[in-house]
Symmetry: D2
Subunit: 402 residues, 4 copies
Amino acid sequence: MDFVYSAKVKDLQTRLINFMEEHVYPNEIVYEQQLNEQESRWSAVPQVMEDLKERAKAAGLWNLFLPESEYGAGLTNLEYAPLCEIMGRSLIGPEVFNCSAPDTGNMEVIVRFGKEEQKEKWLKPLLAGEIRSCFSMTEPAVASSDATNIEASIVRDGDEYIINGRKWWSSGAGDPRCKIAIVMGKTDFNAARHEQQSMILVPLNAPGVTIERMLPVFGYDHAPHGHAEITYENVRVPVENILWGEGKGFAIAQGRLGPGRIHHCMRLIGAAERALEFLCKRVQERVAFGKPLSSQGVIKEWIADSRIEIEQARLLTLKAAYMMDTVGNKEAKTEIAMIKVVAPNMALRVIDRAIQAFGGAGVSNDFPLAAMWANSRTLRLADGPDEVHRAQIAKLELKKYQ
Amino acid sequence: MDFVYSAKVKDLQTRLINFMEEHVYPNEIVYEQQLNEQESRWSAVPQVMEDLKERAKAAGLWNLFLPESEYGAGLTNLEYAPLCEIMGRSLIGPEVFNCSAPDTGNMEVIVRFGKEEQKEKWLKPLLAGEIRSCFSMTEPAVASSDATNIEASIVRDGDEYIINGRKWWSSGAGDPRCKIAIVMGKTDFNAARHEQQSMILVPLNAPGVTIERMLPVFGYDHAPHGHAEITYENVRVPVENILWGEGKGFAIAQGRLGPGRIHHCMRLIGAAERALEFLCKRVQERVAFGKPLSSQGVIKEWIADSRIEIEQARLLTLKAAYMMDTVGNKEAKTEIAMIKVVAPNMALRVIDRAIQAFGGAGVSNDFPLAAMWANSRTLRLADGPDEVHRAQIAKLELKKYQ
Amino acid sequence: MDFVYSAKVKDLQTRLINFMEEHVYPNEIVYEQQLNEQESRWSAVPQVMEDLKERAKAAGLWNLFLPESEYGAGLTNLEYAPLCEIMGRSLIGPEVFNCSAPDTGNMEVIVRFGKEEQKEKWLKPLLAGEIRSCFSMTEPAVASSDATNIEASIVRDGDEYIINGRKWWSSGAGDPRCKIAIVMGKTDFNAARHEQQSMILVPLNAPGVTIERMLPVFGYDHAPHGHAEITYENVRVPVENILWGEGKGFAIAQGRLGPGRIHHCMRLIGAAERALEFLCKRVQERVAFGKPLSSQGVIKEWIADSRIEIEQARLLTLKAAYMMDTVGNKEAKTEIAMIKVVAPNMALRVIDRAIQAFGGAGVSNDFPLAAMWANSRTLRLADGPDEVHRAQIAKLELKKYQ
Amino acid sequence: MDFVYSAKVKDLQTRLINFMEEHVYPNEIVYEQQLNEQESRWSAVPQVMEDLKERAKAAGLWNLFLPESEYGAGLTNLEYAPLCEIMGRSLIGPEVFNCSAPDTGNMEVIVRFGKEEQKEKWLKPLLAGEIRSCFSMTEPAVASSDATNIEASIVRDGDEYIINGRKWWSSGAGDPRCKIAIVMGKTDFNAARHEQQSMILVPLNAPGVTIERMLPVFGYDHAPHGHAEITYENVRVPVENILWGEGKGFAIAQGRLGPGRIHHCMRLIGAAERALEFLCKRVQERVAFGKPLSSQGVIKEWIADSRIEIEQARLLTLKAAYMMDTVGNKEAKTEIAMIKVVAPNMALRVIDRAIQAFGGAGVSNDFPLAAMWANSRTLRLADGPDEVHRAQIAKLELKKYQ
C-alpha cells in the first residue's frame, strides 16, 4: 500500500494544471460571451471550445479516460482519477480534453460492446471530438430510480428494431454535433426482471426522433449541450445496432455506469477543490468588523471541514478506481456506490460554504460557484439517487452476516 | 398563552387559500408564458399579474402587511404572519396581494419616516400597486455583511444631496414600474460608527442613476423584477428626500429590516409547506421496487422531519411577530435574528428533500421546487448572512451572564 | 394567539426558580455524598431528599403536574410546562416536587382508570410522596418499539389474574420506597392486534415478583431508583387490579404516554437551558490563545444554535401541551410525537456543546453535564424510539393527501 | 499508489483476528467479573489480563506499535494501522498486546529522548508489560486546549528539578502497576512562548506525588487504570530525568502526540467496525411491525452511512500513517490533525446508530456499545479538542494562498 502518484501521473498532472491555468480558466468567460453573442445559445458550440480542443490534442492531453483499450491513452482508472479531477475544476474543462459526460461512458460502451462497423462510424469521430453522443435512459412517466420501471419498447421487425418511448435528461442532445444516442428500452416485457432491457444505438437524425424540449437545471440551460426530452416514435434502426444482444441492457448498464459514475466523482472533487481555493482567497481579501474574514473562527471551521471532506472523498475515489482496475467494475460495486453517494454531497457542502463566504457574488454568475452547485446537485440524482446506492451498500453489508 | 388564530385571521386564511387555489397556482405557468412571449423578459410585467392584482383588491386581500398605520389593513404582525405564509406558497403570490419584497419593507419606512409630500408622491402609488420600489444598500466592493463598510456617499450641497456609489442586489429595479429607490450611504465618514449612515429617497429616473446590469441567482434571472447593479453618479435630490435625518440610516435599518426579514420568513414557511405538499402527493403516485415511494422508510423520515421543522419555524416566526407587536422591533431583535437564521435553512432542507423525491423533475422548472430553493438560498445572505445573526444572538445570550 | 404566561404561572415560575437556587442546586452534591456514604447506593434515599420534599410541600410547590383532577394543583398542561422545565434543570429536581418519572404518568393512569379503593391504597401515598411506582412494559426478548411484540401474559383464574413475563427498564424499581408497578401484558393473544394488551396493578412485594438486576445507563447506576429487570412468575393479583378492563392496554398507553412523554420533554428543555447557562459562564471565565473562549466564533455559533434550538423546542412543547388541554391527548398525537423526537435530540446537541466547551471537566462528574447527556440519550429510546414517532408523523401527514 | 496490504500485514491481521475471537472477546465479561470480585475495582488488574498478555507474547503479537526502533517489531505506522484497528475492537484489546494508551506514546518518547539508563529502568519493563505509565499534561485550572496555559513549574535546584503543579486526566495512573509519569511543566516562564515548557520523568512513588482522586467518564470509572487528578508538590527528581532538554517540551509534544493521536484513531476505526457488526447482526435477528429491523429503510441508511464513514476514516488514517513514515510526524501534521477530527466523530456516529438499533440494551452494559461511545467522546477532547485541530488545518490551508 502506498499513497504516491506515479511519475507518469505526476507529469500529466503538471501539464494539465498548467494547461488549465493558461488556457481554460481565462476562457470560461469567453466561452459564455461567444455563446451569448451567437444566433442563439443553442445554435453552435463556441469557437473557443474548438480552439481549446485543438490545443489539448496538440499537448497530448486527449482521451485520457479509456483504460484497457487500444483506443485510449493507456491509463488505468487509478491513473486517470487525479487527472480527471483537474479537468473537473472548470465546467468547460472536460470537453476540452474530450473527457466529458456522457461521452466517456458512451465510448466505453461502444469499445466494449460495439461492432467494428459501429466503432468506425461512431466511436472514431467521438474519439476525435468531431461528434458527440447522448444517453437515453430515464423516462418522465415513471420513477426511473428503479430501472425496471422503464417503458420504452424495442421491438424486432425483420432486420430492424422499432423503438418507441419518451425519454428525458438525455444530456448533450442539444449540442448541434450530437449524432448518436444509446437508448435503453425493453425487448421483452415478459422476461426475467433484469433481462427485459436492451441497449441500442440510435442516430439522432433517424426519422421519428424528436427533441421535444430542453430541460433547465436550477435556471441554467446548460446550452449548447443541455438536457433533452426526446420522443422516439416508430424509430427504425438495423438489428446490428443492438449492443451485445437482447436482454443485455442491465448487464451493460452495470458496466457502463461504473466508469460514468466515477468520472463524475473525480470531476466533483476538482470542482470542490476549486471552490475551496476561491473561498480561501476571498476571505483573505475581504474585511468585516475590522479584520479579514479569514480570521473568523466559523470560516476557519468551514475551511478545515472542506479540506477534510475533500481529502476523504478523494481517497475513496482512488480506492474505487483501484478496485475497478484490479477486481473489475462489477466487483467494485460497493466502492462505486459509496463514492457516488459521497462525492456529490461533499461537493455540495464545500461549494455551499464558498457561496456563503462570497455573499451575493456567490449566488450570481460572477463566479462559477452557483453553477457548480447546481451541477453537483443533479449528481445526487443522475446515475441513480443517493438512496438507491445506500440501499445497495446496506444490502451488501448485511449479507456479510447472513 | 394560547395557540389559536383569531376569527378574523381564520376568515382571511380561508379566503386567501381559496384565492390561491382558484387564481394564483393555475396562473403560475401563464405568467411564465406571457413573460417568454413578450418582447423581452424585462420589457413588461405580464398582464396576468395586473389582472390578479385587480381581483385581489376586489376581494379585500390587499396591503394586509402594514401594522399600526392608517394606510394598512389594521392587522398586527402576528395576524399577518399566517396570511403572508399563504401568499409565500407561490413565487408570484406576494405581488398579487401587494405584499412583495422589497416593497413592504420600503413602504413601512416611508410610512414611519417619510414626509407628507413623499407619502403622497411615492407611498400612495406603491400602496395602489401602480409603481414599485427598490432598496440600494449592498455594495460589490466591500463585505456588506458589516454595514459600516458601506462606501457610497451622500453629500449635502445647498438644498440638495449629491449621491455617489455603486450598489448591487437592488432587487426589483428591473421592473419597468420601479420608480423609487431607498439608498443607504454615508453623510459623515467621521461620525461615530453607527451614525455615519443615512437613507435617502432617489427617483430611479434621476440623472446619474444607471442600471449597469441584472444579476442572476443560480441560473434564474427573476425577470421582470430582477436584481440590479446600479451606479449612482453625482445624483442630485432635494434635501427633503433624506429619511428621518442625517446619521439615522442605521436606526432606520434596524426598524426597516425587522419587518422585511420576518416577511421573508413567513413566505419561506409557505414555500416549505407547499414543497412538502408536492412531496407527499408525488411519493404516493410513484412506484419503485414494487411499492409506492411513500412506503419507503427514508422518505417517511423526510416527511416527518419536514413537518417537525416547518412547525417549529412557524411557531418561532409567530413568537417573533408577537414580540414585534408587543415590545417593538428593536426589543424583538433576538427573536428576529433567530427566525432569520431558522427559516431559510429550514426551507432549504424541506425543499431539497422534495427535489430529491422528484428526481430529475425536481431540478427542472416543471415544478417550482428548484426556483423556490434558489430563492431560499439567497435568504441565507440577504438582510444579513446567517453568521452575523448568530453572532448577534450569541452576544445577547452571553450578556445575560456578564 | 399570544405568547405570554399567565400571572399565576409567572408567580409559580419565580417561586420555583428561587427554590431551585436556594435549595436544590446546592444540594445536588450533598445528595450524591449521602448516597455514597450510606450502606450501599441502593439501601436508602438520601435524607436530604426527604428534607427537600418537605420544604417544597410547605412552599406549595407540590404535585403541580396533574391537570383536570381534584387531586392535582389545578394547572393545565400548558401551565405546567414552564414549571416542569424549571424542575428539569436538576436531575434531582423533579422528585423534590413530587413530579418525577415514571410516577407522574402512573398517577395520571390511576386517577383516570383506577378504582376508588386503588386510589386510596396507591394514589394517595404516591401523591403524598410516601411511596413510589414503576412501569413494566419493555421486554428484553423482543423489539419493544413495536408494542404488539410484548409477550408477558395476564391470565384470568377465578377472582385473580396470573402474570408471567420478563420486563426490563422498569425505572424506579430500585427505590426502597417503590411499592407498586403498572404492568403491561396480553390478556388475549388472539384478539385484534391492539386489543390483546391490558394494564394491571401489581404490588412489588407480591410473591413471584423478582428484581433480577439493575441496569446501568452508560456508566451511571441511577441509584437509588435505577432501572430494573424484573421477572413476574405466576404472580397473582385480584381481578380488580386490571385497569379500565381487558384489552384496554393500548388505549391506556395512548393516554398515559402522552403526559409521560411531554413531561420528559419539558424537563429536557430545562436541562438544556442549564447546560447553556453553564456553557455561557464557563467560556467567559476561561482563556485560550490570549482571549476568553467566549470570543471564539465557533463557540458563539454553538451558543446561538443552542438558544435557537431550545426556543423552538420550547414553543413546540407548549403547543403540544395546549393541544392536549384543548383537543385531548389522543388528538394531540402528532404534536406529542413531534416534541418527543425534537426535545431529546435538541438537549443532546446543546449538552454536547457544553461538554465540548468544558473539556475534560465536561465528561467527568464535576458538572452535571455528562449525566444529563446520558439521561437525555435514553429518551431517544424510552417511550418509543425516534423512528417510531417519525413513522407516525409521516403517516398522519401522508393521510392528508390520500 | 496502491491499496493492498502487504503479505506480512495480511498474515498479522489474520493472526490478530483469530486471537481476538478466540481469546479477547470471550474474556471481556470475565475481565469485568474479576474486577468486580476483587477487593476493590482499583486494587489489582484482573488475572485474566495477565494471562492474555502471556498468550499474546507467545503468539508473537506484542509491541507491534514501535516504528524505526530496535525495540519494536519493525513495523511502519502504515503497517501497524490495520493491526491496531483490530486491537481497538475491544476496550480490553490494546493492553493484551502491550499497545495501549498512554503507554505506546510514552514509550515512543523514551525511545527517542530518553537516556540509556532511563531506557533500562523504565522502557524495558514497559515493553515487557511489567509496569505502566501515565502522561501528566492537562491542568484543571486552565484551558489546556492552549498548551501555553500550563502552570506547573519545573525548577532546577542543583542536581535536581523541583516539580509543582496540579494535573488531571493522567490516564492509567490508577493502575497499581503504574510507576512512571511523563510530566509537562514550565522551566522558564519568561522564554519564548513555545520554549517555556519541558517534559520530565517522575516516578509515581516520589515523595510529593499524590493521587487526589480518580475522575469518571460518563459514569464509567475505567478501573483499574482510570483517570487521575494528581498533585505534584515539591517533587524532586534528578536532572537527568529531563527529556531532551529544557524548553523542549513543545517539540517533544509535537513528536509524541502524532503517534499517540493516530493510535487512538486506528482503535476508533476498530471500535466502529465492531459496532457496525453488532448492528448488522442485531437488526437481522429482531422483528418489529412484522418484519426484521434490517428491512427498514432508515436502518439500511444507517448501515450504508456507517460503512461509508468508516471506509473514509480508515483511508485517511492510512494516508496519515504513510505520511508519518515518509515525511515525518511534523510534516504530516495536517493529516494527523484531520484524522484526529474525523475518527472520533465518525466513531460516535456509528456507535450511536448501533445504540439506537439496540434500544435499551444499547445504553446498558450488556453490550460494549455505551462504553465505546463514552470512550470515543473523550477523544474529541483528549490530545486537543476538535476545534484546535480544525483551526490548525485551516491555518495551513489559508497559507497556501498568502
